[in-house]
Amino acid sequence: MSITSRFWISLVLSLPMLAEMILKPFGWMLPGGEWTMLVLTTIIMAVSAGPFLQSAWASFKKHHSNMDTLVAIGTATAYFYSIYAMITGQAVFFESAAFVTTFVLLGQVFEERMRHNASSAVEKLVNLQAKEAEVLRDGKFIKIPLDQVVVGDEIRVKPGEKIAVDGLITSGSSSIDESMVTGESMPVEKKRGDHVIGSTINSNGSFTFKAEKVGNDTMLSQIVELVKRAQTSHAPIQKLTDKVSDIFVPIVLIIAILTFLVWYVFIGASVANSLIFAVSVVVIACPCALGLATPTALMVGTGRSAKMGILIKNGEVLEEVNDINTVVFDKTGTITVGKPEVTDVTGDEKRVLSIAASLEGASEHPLAAAILAKAKADKLDVPSSFDFKAIEGKGVRATVDGQTAFVGNGKLLADFDISADMKQQMARLQDEAKTVVFVGLGDRVIGLIAIQDAPKSTSKEAIAALKARGLKTIMLTGDNERVARAIANDVGIDQVIADVLPGDKADRVKELQANGKVAFVGDGINDAPALTVADVGIAMGSGTDIAIESGGIVLVKNDLRDVDRALALSRKTFNRIKLNLFWAFVYNVLGIPIAAGVFFAIGLTLSPELAGLAMAFSSLSVVTSSVLLNKAKISTNVAMA
């Protein structure tokens, strides 16, 4: 029988007794008196409270105890004593057994509903998945169920449809709403060669794409798996309650017996009154609230952050975040866009660029990519070049339009002429943290190209938000001091550690840990060791396997502002756990002495019914407080997505 129907039965049967309790002073008596009470309570005990007794007995046989043990002992004591009292003609308290059962069940009904609410985040994520896909099979597009899609399938997506799996667009273009996975509210433009994420929604265009990841490998599945793990993980703070629950119940039983003995043997109260105190102790002490405090808050907190594109891996991370005092950033791809771009060209812009593009055409250097991208964007005609010669450590030389042309770095200046004016411009550009490339014809430098990996537009705001939190910000980079310093000044970073080899990043983080707990923010591929070493590893963007593996927090969006949001959410969740535990403890610590009659002298006592009601409220309030975490205001200095 479900908890809900057990509750209704016990409520309906308790009502007549409640009526009598209220109307007694006005002279109304329950028809049939004690006999009616006996019948009503017996039904409640058998039907509604029976499962408590059954469960209590089953665990007793295994040397265990649980909240059912307390409820069972409390109600059974009241019930059997009342039968004895009836036979011997003394006052009965059947209604206590009935009311306690009703209240405890009321609490469980609500609690069950709340727990269901708290755990629905994962279900919602799973439900995002498309149910079917239009796949090319034997030259025709046909609709097939999602689980039959295999890697390499060509899938067509029409406007308004859900993208089935992760893949690469092969033809067509569209703007895609990725908010459900990344939390990014703006639709993203995608064209041929771009990656699409399964479960996101195609808006206006139509396109076909090749399935690259299906089933459990898709990004959504990985996120679901991660959230599931986070929600079932244990926060270290919980270890306390793990131990408490096992020893708590027996101790409560002992306290209850002592309460009875003290009242009956030493103070000389009647058996009935002494029993009431003992029963109250048993009923109020149920440790449910304690057990629910951490898991429910963890569940809601990680679920809410997942919706914002912030994946918190486990409860341990939540605790660590609280003690962080330094945030270390990787530069390229984290603070900066990660794609060097041409910012300035001096001299005859078209000519300088087209010659540079011609010479760099075959190069794989990142600076070359920036020059080619600029030439392409400006739709320049790139002349062909031949007779390539590398100038060792300086650049390249080739023949363009019958003339010798060269492109390279500052070391070329030893071999070629440069005007004083251009020299000045070079110094200015370098001070702006730009890498300068020299372009020349014959033996003369004809122009300069300045290239910069620009900071993301959101970096400055993100750093400012972290500093407002009182955190120290440090940038770790392999770049030279001058460029790094300029970027740091631009976005407001406190300290720069430059010229760090990729392999040394983790060691530098370790050194910083001597001064307190450190969070490291990186984009996950070459930063993996540093992400692991740091107290809190925050992996940016991509959502690649490596990032997910090594970071404690994964930011699905490539937005640095999410670092602050992640810290804010983690703190909020952890504080909620502490609050829950505090109330659960306080409630038991204060409730037991009151129930035991310690404050009897000042008129403060708890009847078993009130104790039952209070108990129901305590677990309810803890779960409610966790569910409210979904609505709680997160104090962050950046705009919430």
Binding site: S59, H63, I254, C288
Partner: protein
Amino acid sequence: MIKIIVLIVGLTLIGFISWWFFGKHAVATETANVENNVQKVDVEVNGGYSPETVVLKQGVPAILNFTRQDPSSCLDRVVFPEFGINRELPKGQLEPIKIDTSKAGEYQWACGMDMFHGKLIIK
């Protein structure tokens, strides 16, 4: 006189409770049998888990068959924190749970409220 008897009975009861719950008691342990390259263990959920400790062989796919007999909502879920499993156990229904046995070690499982615990040893 009756008060002294009540006192003695009460104290005896306290002694019994301490011994029963805090004393050392044997824990039911079961080692899985491997059949057709799958190891299966039936776990009955009734006032706790029996067996409470399950020993599995590393590298062999394993399934734990949980059956909840207990009416308590305390035990209506089983959680394996390390494996990211949080499964509902409908009363009286056999619920098979696959365990990844690729890594050796000792793992805990618990009920949804973290009151009852079981241990999983993979070696």
